[in-house]
Symmetry: C2
Subunit: 296 residues, 2 copies
């Protein structure tokens, strides 16, 4: 398989589905629906939806049944970016090279666009289109998996601790808490939701969960490294932003060399976990390499 083609085609499918599932811009209130679409279609890599689809297919599931949940994940990811960028939070003016939501639409609409995207994700997860040929119990499990990963004991919790740690000297366990919650939880949920939608049995679900946990943390470390060494163009935001804000990162705590070593170790652990799944898990293996290698 050619990974570039695989990712590009997957992204096109996800983008098309997102366009279908999001309320049309013409619907009242149009400022809100414009803001929702502005941030969703801001050039994201669609890593979470692609991981969900790949996990679903790794256990023999069909892509069509998994697309709604894949889009719901991207809506949740997008809402979290809009709120993280707010003046009261990270106060970022740019994201992926474009002005952030509150710079374009104002702070109130940015808050509400985030709220609406989060809500829309759960509307989609519980909609008939999201469960066409699946038993309702599977749909319910997927909402649980994604909801818990996004909530106060998952992503939102990680964002709180990250914020509260700014400018503080933090220890390694706190850093791991931040990363496994703020980024890792939703990536793990992508994999687990895909596994559940694809009908994974217990051993396959466990193997994929191990992959998801390791890949999620590797992804965040790679992001941290890119923040230090990456080029402005490649991330679309200022480089070294974490450092200047006194944010906790792997390179800051371990040094660049050891951070890279840890990312590679996690990548290899993720790939090793997939052994029982054979050839159907090849895209997941390649994505693990893609995630880590972009930072080295």
């Amino acid at each position: 398989m050619d990974l570039e083609t695989y990712l590009r085609e997957g992204r096109m499918q996800v983008d098309q589905a997102l366009d279908t599932f999001l309320p049309a811009e013409g619907l009242l209130p149009s400022s809100l629906h414009r803001a929702m679409r502005y941030s969703v279609f801001a050039g994201g890599k669609r890593i979470r939806p692609l991981l969900l689809l790949a996990a679903c297919e790794a256990v023999g599931g069909g892509r069509d049944d998994a697309l709604p949940a894949a889009c719901a994940l991207e809506m949740i990811h997008t809402y979290s970016l809009i709120h993280d960028d707010l003046p009261a939070m990270d106060n970022d003016d740019f994201r992926r090279g474009r002005p952030t939501s509150h710079k374009v639409f104002g702070e109130a609409i940015a808050v509400l666009a985030g709220d609406a995207l989060l809500t829309e994700a759960f509307i989609l997860l519980s909609s008939p289109v999201g469960n066409r040929r699946l038993p309702p119990a599977v749909g319910r499990d997927v909402i649980q998996i994604i909801g818990r990963a996004a909530g106060s004991l998952g992503m939102v919790g990680g964002q709180v601790v990250d914020m509260e740690s700014e400018g503080q000297t933090i220890d390694f366990p706190t850093l791991e808490y931040i990363h496994t919650h703020k980024t890792g939880a939703l990536i793990l949920a992508s994999i687990q939701a895909g596994a559940r939608l694809g009908g994974a049995d217990e051993p396959a679900y466990a193997a994929l969960s191990e992959y998801g946990a390791a890949a999620g943390l590797a992804f965040q470390i790679a992001d941290d490294i890119l923040d230090v060494v990456g080029e402005r163009e490649s991330l679309g935001k200022g480089v070294g932003g974490d450092q200047s804000r006194g944010k906790a990162t792997y390179p800051a705590l371990l040094g660049l060399q050891d951070a890279r070593g840890r990312a590679i170790e996690l990548r290899d652990r993720a790939v090793a976990a997939l052994a029982p799944l054979g050839g159907a898990a090849e895209p997941l293996r390649r994505i693990a390499h893609y995630i880590v290698d972009r930072s080295s």
Copy 2:
């Protein structure tokens, strides 16, 4: 039945269930979980949960099966208040006589506590405890009903149009749009979710929906009237706040007398819709009177 006793006992049950369902304050990050509980336990009237429980019982359903969804509704209502109070929105320092979330915990935590409460609602709606003895398809429908009412075509949409209309001269259809969306949608959803959880058949569901639509609008008109004539103590916030902000209200557009007339007309329409349900709907009838009469 004695309505006071009925409401007080219902509130105690809802509060107890909320205490069980919300993450404990001791859980990390405790600032977040404290903020979530601070706003949930800020003395709300629990109208939405009580309407859900009453609708469920009106069609012969059991209260236990409906309590999780009732609590989820209150979490969504609470998140919407926290975000509405933010400096970028209504910029309110007090709510129900207590400092608002961002005054106590800071703006970032207030945004995130709202996000977490919204997410927690869907975790609860999809959790096994929320669906113990109910078919999964019922749980899925309830998530649809509540999600759609809360999202961009419901409550959030209403908040956007309300905000965008501030200081503008608006017409009656716009005012009705704001109220049926910002407040009405979630009240209607309370009734519809209760009906679905209680196993309502089609005619009962339709009757309850008519009740919910009329009662929801009556509730908002009564709130508008109270804002003009109420006493500081009874609302716990400044009186006339809507007017001074140039907010669209019924009394402003129709005059106090006609606004009262409209509320009474809606109350009577709500009560009339319940005729086919007989004695089991008595609490709903009494609540409709309670909603409107507190403003006259």
